[in-house]
């Protein structure tokens, strides 16, 4: 089974549609859209509504509806320089 979602780039507002298998993980979504948008190397997380998704979670665990929107957010790690 395949589900189509929309992923929004929090930094630019751009969106891309992505087809996901139930076995795909959140980490694979992050890697897929990061490569598509040629993101700078860095840490990123995905949110679904008001919840942050864990990297190892599979699509089948996420209760994603067709065409639901996820958002790719940078996870800032600076602050001591």
């Amino acid at each position: 089974m395949v589900v189509r979602v929309r992923v929004r780039n929090a930094e630019t507002g751009a969106t891309v549609d992505m087809e996901l298998e139930m076995e795909n993980t959140v980490e694979e979504i992050i890697e897929g859209v990061s490569a598509y948008w040629e993101k700078d190397p860095g840490a990123y997380v995905i949110r679904k509504g008001r919840r942050l998704l864990r990297g190892q979670q599979k699509v089948q665990e996420l209760e994603i509806q067709a065409n639901e929107e996820l958002e790719l957010i940078p996870d800032p790690e600076g602050g001591n320089r």
């Binding site: 980490e27 864990r54 990297g55 790690e77 600076g78 602050g79 001591n80």
Partner: protein
């Protein structure tokens, strides 16, 4: 006998206005022992806020010295500090005492990795003002095992995040990390076969986001010490959009910090 008061005496108490916030436990704030890890941009702001709020027992840890480019974000550093020979932690401690002479603040010039769970048990709360995943993972795991609340802040340009970890109830930093975080570690430590090279990239940073993130860290510390619930669980701040949102995170069942034996 009736209590004796004098006109204007309330204004002699430097914390009088803050004491008007009804839920703040000032007894706890006054006695709490706080560790600030990192005396750079976030650490400067956090120590300034802690001192002004009324905290009186701080330790500040950092192994670095000041460079001139720190001066645009570090309220406690001065022109000339970069050639003083003093470390960031010592300078922050020295200047914090100028803010409140009653402040007992100790500088620890050392590495994050020198602190284990036993050292962390000395503290009531720890603020992470760091700039890399390795140091964050160390503080997160050890503070969690020591059962000491840990409030972590991070910035990148006009973006920031704060996570409040209150063991054993909340998810920890590692619960929210994924391969993109660990790839950073792989890039930072490149092994040449004979040596390990540490690569620290220069990252965008500016004072307004730094101030906001450090202020939220200190406010979460005040809430936790006053017995109020902390944010659940991660605040993401976007300074360009002018928004901040608190996003929920689940405990990762595979996270080593939440192994069943350690939750007892």
């Amino acid at each position: 006998m009736a209590e004796l008061i004098r006109p204007g005496e309330r204004d002699e108490d430097r914390h009088d206005r803050t004491r008007l916030v009804p839920w703040v436990d000032f007894g706890r704030i006054d006695s709490a022992k706080v560790l600030v890890v990192g005396a750079g941009a976030l650490g400067n702001e956090a120590v300034k806020d802690l001192a002004l709020f009324g905290f009186h027992h701080l330790d500040v840890l950092d192994m670095d010295s000041v460079v001139r480019s720190n001066l645009s974000r570090c309220v406690l550093f001065r022109e000339g500090d970069q050639s003083s020979g003093k470390g960031k932690a010592s300078l922050v401690a020295e200047r914090a005492r100028e803010l409140d002479p009653e402040l007992q603040v100790t500088a620890i010039e050392g590495r994050v990795q020198s602190l284990g769970p036993e050292e962390m048990k000395r503290y009531d709360i720890i603020l992470g003002c760091l700039d890399n995943v390795t140091a964050r993972l160390h503080m997160n795991a050890n503070a969690y095992h020591a059962r000491v609340p840990y409030v972590d802040g991070g910035t990148d340009g006009f973006r920031g995040r704060v996570q409040a970890v209150v063991p054993p109830m909340t998810p920890c930093l590692q619960c929210g990390m994924n391969r993109s975080h660990f790839r950073i570690l792989e890039r930072r430590f490149s092994c040449t076969g004979q040596d390990t090279v540490f690569y620290q990239p220069k990252r965008a940073a500016e004072i307004t986001t730094t101030s906001i993130i450090a202020a939220v860290q200190v406010r979460e510390a005040v809430k936790i010490l006053s017995g109020r619930p902390a944010i659940s669980h991660v605040m993401h701040y976007d300074g360009v959009a002018g928004t901040s949102e608190v996003l929920a995170l689940d405990i990762d069942p595979g996270c080593p910090n939440h192994a069943p034996a350690k939750l007892s």
